[in-house]
Assembly symmetry: C2
Homo-oligomer: 273 residues x 2
């Protein structure tokens, strides 16, 4: 029971952190300052000021509450704090400070912060997942305790995925120049409506919350983008299929199918990721 209490404390810490990021990132959203390039992230992308501001808040908030931990984030990479080291660490934080930076800097108010806590560097050991739409709703899960959505009216509800056969609404991301369209077009034939959100963490949470029936991303996306949402989908009763039990770092990328069991099986029969 000690762990569950700790996990709930971590979730509360994530919520506070998310609110602080919403305030600060929300303030510079849409300004030239937000998109100012201030360096190269460990994951290979350019670091924009809005990313850096959000990451600094995460580091500061976690440091206030923990001494020895590892934080893996797109900008700073893999960093051990206090006495934690490669050989001795049982607290890992997987962070995507701003998922959907392009939306944020170009002026589409749909981007999120994604925070996960794991007892190892492996994705299957994640115990707490949290995703917040910077201007809106919030999704979260504690391992074994279910998934919850807090909507724009601040009302929190447990979310449970349905088991329907149809994929009516499909979330889908495309590779540049539509290079993977041949593969994706086979899946698109299954659906009626599509959404390309531009924030993977948020797109996956829309699956957990029932706004989308399934989601595919074969660009492939970085594993860091989906750590929190994976637990949120699983705790809502769904499946987030990638390679099994990957070690989380800033560079690994993974093809992704998410949905309820039937949807994922139907899609994977075609794609065989």
């Amino acid at each position: 029971m000690y762990e569950v209490k700790m996990y709930e404390d971590i979730l509360n810490l994530f919520k506070e952190t998310g609110n602080k990021i919403s305030k600060s990132a929300g303030e510079i959203y849409g300004t030239d300052e937000a998109s100012e390039i201030i360096g190269n992230g460990a994951g290979g992308d350019k670091t924009k000021k809005i990313d850096k501001i959000a990451e600094d808040i995460v580091i500061s908030e976690i440091s206030k509450n923990f001494d020895d931990f590892c934080l893996i984030s797109e900008e700073i990479g893999i960093k051990f704090f206090g006495k934690a080291s490669d050989m001795a660490c049982n607290k890992f934080f997987f962070v995507d400070p701003i998922d959907g930076s392009n939306n944020a800097t170009r002026g589409i108010p749909l981007f999120s912060t994604s925070l996960a806590f794991s007892t190892s560097q492996y994705i299957n050991d994640i115990k707490v997942g949290y995703v917040k739409n910077i201007f809106g709703e919030e999704y979260c899960a504690v391992k074994g305790k279910g998934s919850y959505k807090t909507d724009v009216h601040k009302i929190q509800k447990k979310i449970l995925m349905n088991s329907k056969d149809d994929i009516e609404f499909l979330g889908v991301e495309f590779a540049p120049c539509g290079k993977n369209l041949d593969e994706i077009s086979k899946i698109m034939q299954l659906a009626k409506h599509y959404r390309t959100v531009g924030s993977i963490a948020l797109g996956l949470c829309y699956v957990a919350g029932g706004a989308l029936d399934a989601y595919i991303d074969l660009r492939p996306p970085r594993i860091l983008d989906l750590t929190a949402a994976k637990l949120i989908i699983e705790e809502a009763g769904g499946i987030c299929l990638g390679k099994e039990n990957l070690k989380v770092d800033t560079k690994t990328k993974v093809n992704l199918i998410a949905g309820n069991k039937k949807a994922v099986e139907k899609i994977n029969k075609i794609l065989e990721i």
Copy 2:
């Protein structure tokens, strides 16, 4: 000059109406009540309660300010008020109360209200256009007076489209079962990133505001969905290409390409809409 003053008054009326819709539609967003089917709209779609609430606000606000006018909206169809008639009317309001109802009812907080004023039933006579993201920013234009965006921080700025050659970010909507993918895939090859927003009015405003470099919808969408955004793009210096000078009603649909001159020419060379 009398007209411009009147157009600005109408824009203010639209802004007040948009704020009222944001409040009421925002309140029931995500509830079962929002998606309750309460009838069949004139445009052929089922009328959801959230659509009806928004439409009622528009009718009430316009009726308070005008006696004789025509209102064309997806739910009620083409309706003349006061002494206005098919033979005598110079005030037309084109209304899409909730553009992106699917987002609204399934739980994606990205949907808008679209209001346009025209001196005839023809789209080229539109004088005022207004689109509001229910939970966020607002776009508007008065004919000959430029386009403006009011961001989430309530700061209003004039928007002007760039004239760059590249289509880096493409907004695109797909037909059910991806039936028009063959055609669309040729355009997708031109771009690097894609967004499928699920609200045409908002997607088009993202073009006007520079978040997207171009936008295509060949499902085709209903003309009512794009009336306001068409003026907003044009007043921002862009092009919103559909069939020329269409008469606006609830049923006409039109293939659509939007962007700056170069982008639209590049796309239309391939599509020839």
